[in-house]
Amino acid sequence: MRDLLTAKSEEDALEDLHRKGLTDGLPVVVPTPSRVDRMALASGNDPDMVIGAMGPGNGVATIEKIAVAAVMAGCVPDHMPVVLAAVKAVINPVFDLTEMQATTHCTAPLIIVNGPARFSCGPISSGYGALGPGHRANASIGRALRLAMINIGGGRPGSSDMALLGHPGKFTYCLAENEEESPFEPLHTSFGFERDESIVTVMGGEAPHSVLFGADGDDPKSYKGLLDILAIGLTNPATNNAILTGGSALIILNPEHAAVLADAGLNRTTISEELHTRCLHTEKDIKRLVPAFSSNREGNRNAFTGPEQILIMMAGGSGLYSMAIPTWSAGAHKNSPSCEKIETDFFCEIPDKKID
């Protein structure tokens, strides 16, 4: 049964939502019953259908509650299947949502979208500034997941979300892969999905770390320098990946860097393998730099248990910069990436998409 709030005006309603701690601190679209109904309808599911419990508060995520988050975030009904898939992905136990929401680390769920839904549920940007402002679907979908984590999961700063600082991606963190221009098979195929399936992959990521590299067209071994510098970006010894080990991490190659590696005969799998051999530190160095997490072992500590933990995708504009996104690398399942199919078959076309 709905427990409705009332207010004299839209402005009053917004202030009330802020006062009750139901926003992310920015203005939201007030989730009126008609707006929520329309958003829930777009999912093609019953509003009271239960998706699962969201930690740390163990709030029950129903289609209707997820629709509330989507409305508040500024989504249009077209975005709803992606929001729903993202919520399902973080509820998957492998994602360790409860622990991830409660940790002192800055981790935030990064939503990566592959397949035809990038267009039918967006457009979700994979180009210039895809992780920055100016892309409505990216901004709204990522924000909807965060609002669900706040209002259904109960993650609030300082009382249940204990991130010491957090990072701006905790407002919204969503992009698509540029599959059309990538020389590699898209990311979701490495998880066993078909290329034409629409998939959300959610991983708990730090803020993106820029990786600068300029290729030398006269040097056929130039690509090795790119691999070396990407590996440093992935596992600088200040990251949890390097110290705790066993968590995943992501490289977002820009088109030029992707071309350098493709021209060298590498593919997604062999790039991960090459990086894996480079992502290690000596135990001696770790003892010197981070003694609280050192051991009496000798030899090297590899940040990853295997190359499959290093995710590779292509996005962004053309230029010198790729991105490395290290992760929290803790929790019972090491906060593993979680994939979920975007159910566009169930999507219900809304005759009037205008939000009242």
């Binding site: 930690g55 740390p56 508060g57 163990n58 409660a102 109960g154 009382s159 249940s160 609280a292």
Partner: protein, 74 residues
């Protein structure tokens, strides 16, 4: 906090050691997991990284409370 509750749910006497900074989070977690009365002992913050001698001193200062909580819990 969560570990303490999970242990208590196994009918094993448990007391959660929570630093003062994390006390509000403890309130939230204990309610959300349905065990708001889980015995808790408050520690100063931070404990981690504060040095062996300091940790011994903290342990000594709360040992009686911890044992009393476990006795009550049993």
């Amino acid at each position: 906090m969560r570990d303490g509750i999970n242990i208590a749910k196994l009918n094993i006497p448990a007391v959660a050691l929570v630093t003062e900074e994390f006390w509000p989070q403890g309130d939230f977690v204990s309610v959300s997991l349905g065990m708001p009365e889980i015995p808790r002992v408050k520690l100063p913050h931070p404990v981690a990284g504060s040095g062996t001698e300091n940790m011994r001193m903290i342990a000594k200062s709360v040992a009686t409370q911890v044992i009393a909580s476990l006795d009550t819990n049993a």
